[in-house]
């Protein structure tokens, strides 16, 4: 079976291929373990401001293969006075460490605070 086509649009759930188990991955030659390792490294480096970094492969609204990051911040890091600086630092570090541009992937970032996730309790923002 050939590589799976990505679904268009923002990843809203754990997208899987038709066997329901294997995550959807980009068609290109992307070293996923390298991305996974880099993201874990960034998560550790930016703790305690960053609590969790998750990501999904999907197509963006133009049909471009993309990485959608979901990042949970500490309440302190996501306070209004810190938010911009915190998120800019995180975005810059992730882009630098995963070399997304060289991989030909668009990147999008969404954030929420720990308190917000505790209230919303979305499984998509939790580790499986």
């Amino acid at each position: 079976m050939g590589p799976t086509r990505l679904k268009r649009g923002f990843a809203t759930s754990r997208q899987t291929s038709d066997n329901g188990i294997v995550p959807i991955v980009p068609r290109g030659l992307v070293d996923q373990s390298e991305i996974r390792t880099a993201v874990q490294q960034v998560e550790g480096d930016l703790a305690p401001n960053v609590i969790r970094i998750m990501y999904s492969y999907s197509l963006d609204w133009t049909g471009a293969e993309s990485l959608f990051f979901r990042i949970i911040l500490s309440d302190e890091a996501s306070s209004p006075k810190n938010l911009r600086q915190t998120t800019q630092q995180i975005i810059a570090k992730i882009l630098q460490d995963i070399n997304a541009e060289d991989l030909g992937l668009q990147t999008y970032f969404n954030f929420r605070s720990k308190s917000e996730q505790d209230m919303l309790q979305e499984p998509f923002w939790e580790r499986p």
């Binding site: 923002f10 609204w61 541009e101 954030f111 917000e116 996730q117």
Partner: protein, 166 residues
């Protein structure tokens, strides 16, 4: 750019409308409105170059988000490539950095606006919404710095192109 500024202020208002439990409707409209603030900033700045004020609204209507998105993506990628060459510090480089902020923010906000307007399965948080609004504010600030620079004005003209400028 009073209309664009008003939209940005309205985005803030929507994001903070419910102090304790923000409604998804408010947050989604806030993200969408922040995108439109940037869209209108760029279209109004482009139209200002039309000599006769009476036709400027018509000129602004010529701009379409799809070609604009392509132009902004191309400009962002072009500038990313240029920055990798480690160009020496100069006033021109500062202009290009600000232009990169504007183009890159427009590309990102196109996607976020699309999600906010059409994907009801996504739950927005106030933190995320404010982050998107702040990114647009940063783009506004960058534009104010460079609006009279040649590179910025050249960029505006390319927004009218239907195909990528080579």
């Amino acid at each position: 750019m009073p209309f664009a500024n008003d939209l940005l202020e309205q985005a803030h208002h929507l994001a903070n409308r419910e102090p304790k439990r923000p409604k998804q409707a408010s947050l989604r409209r806030a993200v969408s409105t922040a995108y439109y603030a940037l869209f209108h900033l760029l279209t109004s700045e482009t139209a200002k170059n039309w000599k006769r004020p009476a036709e400027r609204h018509t000129v602004a209507r010529m701009l379409d988000r799809l070609p604009m998105g392509k132009v902004c993506t191309a400009k962002r990628d072009e500038l990313n490539g240029f920055f990798k060459t480690n160009p020496p510090t100069s006033p021109e480089l500062e202009v290009l950095k600000h232009l990169h902020v504007v183009a890159a923010t427009f590309v990102l906000m196109l996607q976020h606006r699309h999600t906010a307007d059409y994907n009801g399965a996504v739950k927005w948080s106030r933190t995320d919404t404010l982050e998107k609004i702040e990114s647009v504010e940063a783009a506004f600030q960058s534009w104010r710095v460079i609006r009279d620079a040649h590179e910025a004005q050249d960029f505006l003209v390319t927004l009218l192109l239907k195909e990528r400028k080579n």
